[in-house]
């Protein structure tokens, strides 16, 4: 069934969109990631204009993280104070990101920016995750327990310290604000929630306990992607609600299935699978930049949006 998307102004098969949403939903449920970093490139591949894909994906992430955050709030695994600090950084970052996005869009380089960001971040995260989980897998095979150590690093020595009771931390607010800014910029440029950056940063950089990490990042993501959606909707007019709802319905159902599948697999195996998947998407995008495209020319609207 073809459906005409009012903002993207293209006609797409509705079942394809539901299926894509479902597929990414299954993966995100299995691995506990938002899935924005997979969905946005997939939307490029099926011919949704990149600007619409990024803005609409931000809108979809609001919804998919909302139900997750509610569950975490009920279980009291959200550090609201830390979330608020991250959020302040995130809002600044989102505003900056949309500015960068619009400037480069006018210069005709937004495609390059989005693709390059994806290649760099997916490559780095995927590579690190792959090596780390490979090591962990080898250690657990050898029978040694995986050691976790608490670092006393940068976050403790900088000024403007604040007490975060839920996380049991007394650290400077500068690192979390900076993490927030970075995630906000990524949300605006790449159409992702940024969980894949924020979760490792919270664990390794800020030293937060693992049980509050996911809830807190979801809490921050709702507001940052919500703000990003509004900015894109008011400056670029690129949020397509019909597209968002179709992806969402598929995504939510997929996530429920994925969570059940994920419970049957081992944590290390899951992480290696996720790492491989991230590297595959990264490789595909990198090839597009490196190989000569079949059509060297592209069309863009002139002047304004």
């Amino acid at each position: 069934m073809q459906i005409y998307l009012p903002i993207a102004e293209v006609s797409v098969n509705a079942f394809l969109l539901l299926g894509l949403g479902g597929l990414v939903g299954i993966l995100s449920g299995m691995f506990g990631v938002g899935g924005g970093f997979l969905m946005t490139p997939l939307l490029f591949f099926i011919g949704i204009p990149p600007a619409v894909a990024v803005a609409t994906e931000a809108n979809q992430i609001v919804a998919s993280s909302f139900s997750g955050a509610l569950a975490h709030l009920k279980r009291k695994t959200v550090d609201l104070r830390m979330g608020t600090v991250l959020l302040i950084g995130g809002l600044i970052g989102a505003a900056l990101g949309v500015q960068i996005f619009n400037t480069l869009k006018a210069a005709g380089q937004v495609d390059l920016l989005v693709r390059l960001s994806y290649v760099i971040f997916l490559g780095a995260i995927g590579g690190l995750m792959f090596i780390e989980s490979l090591n962990a897998l080898r250690k657990s095979r050898a029978g040694k327990p995986v050691s976790t150590r608490r670092k006393h690093g940068l976050a403790h020595s900088l000024p403007f310290k604040m007490r975060f009771r839920t996380s049991g931390l007394y650290i400077s607010v500068i690192p979390p604000v900076l993490v927030g800014v970075l995630v906000g910029i990524l949300a605006a440029i790449m159409g992702v929630g940024g969980g894949f950056i924020m979760v490792p940063a919270m664990i390794y950089l800020l030293g937060m306990p693992t049980k509050v990490v996911v809830g807190t990042s979801l809490f921050q993501i709702i507001f940052v992607t919500g703000f990003t959606t509004l900015l894109h909707a008011t400056t670029n007019f690129t949020v397509d609600i019909v597209l968002a709802v179709l992806l969402l319905v598929g995504g939510v159902i997929g996530a429920q299935i994925g969570t059940r599948l994920g419970a049957k697999l081992q944590a290390e195996q899951l992480r290696i699978l996720l790492a491989i998947m991230v590297l595959v998407v990264c490789g595909k995008l990198a090839l597009d930049l490196l190989l000569q495209p079949s059509e060297l020319y592209s069309l863009g609207a002139a002047g304004g949006h």
Binding site: Y4, S64, A302
Partner: protein
């Protein structure tokens, strides 16, 4: 004097020659949610007082043009090992959709001079000053090539059926990725490459219903559209997961 002559010619030509009487199967196209392109039938007849002249033969050209917009055409080049947009040419005005159908090969239906005057062929329908880059022709060609591959630009030679030098018809396929606006169907009657008469009909292409509502809202009140999108998305996400839980329980 000049005006008088012009008036005289205007009055004189229909009497001597032939006029188009045109029709369209649809004068409105509604872009609904399940819009998947449309086919319009374009037909008409030639009205004449005198006897039919057969040499040179009568020909018909029909062009359907969507609203014109300026377009930036960009070209990629290899920089530091990756393909980056480098040169850009702004095409001042290019129709968002253009289909031209003829009753015979080009040189027989329209000469160059008349094409320049009436902007009938795709190349002539695009207005480009082409400043800045030496090979701006390549950019215009790329624009035509890209839009042709999307079905937005069509040249259909011999697609107009002409019966008894009087009745003619053709059909034009409008693809799903249409822009809104007034589309003009222009009819030209020609003999020996010269235009005898022309006629212009308007086809209104409009988003309707939900499509129109959402599109207008996103442009007129973008802030509230954004808020509404967030609310709908959150509700849909919550409803879908609630439904799934109920289904399982």
């Amino acid at each position: 004097m000049v005006r008088f002559l012009a008036l005289l010619m205007c009055l004189a030509s229909p009497a001597l020659g032939e006029e188009v009487v045109a029709g369209l199967s649809q004068s409105r196209i509604a872009i609904t949610t399940d819009f998947d392109g449309s086919e319009i039938l374009i037909f008409g007849a030639v009205k004449r007082e005198a006897k039919i002249v057969t040499d040179p033969p009568l020909q018909v050209v029909i062009a359907v043009a969507g609203p014109s917009q300026s377009v930036t055409v960009r070209r990629k080049d290899k920089r530091l090992g990756i393909w980056v947009n480098t040169d850009a040419v702004k095409v001042d005005s290019a129709p968002s959709f253009y289909a031209v159908a003829t009753s015979a090969p080009w040189p027989d239906v329209l000469n160059n001079e008349e094409d320049l005057r009436h902007h009938v062929s795709i190349r002539r329908a695009i207005r480009s000053v082409g400043a800045g880059v030496a090979d701006s022709e390549d950019f215009t060609e790329a624009l035509i090539r890209i839009r042709q591959s999307k079905g937005l630009y069509q040249t259909n030679i011999n697609a107009v059926q002409l019966d008894e030098e009087t009745l003619f018809r053709t059909s034009v396929r409008l693809p799903a990725n249409l822009t809104e606006g007034d589309y003009h169907a222009r009819f030209y009657l020609t003999r020996g490459g010269r235009v005898l008469d022309s006629h212009d009909s308007v086809i209104a292409v409009q988003k309707v219903g939900l499509e129109r509502f959402l599109y207008r809202m996103s442009r007129d009140t973008p802030f509230w559209y954004g808020i509404m999108s967030l609310a709908i998305a959150i509700f849909a996400g919550w409803a879908a997961s609630a439904a799934f839980r109920m289904f399982r329980a």
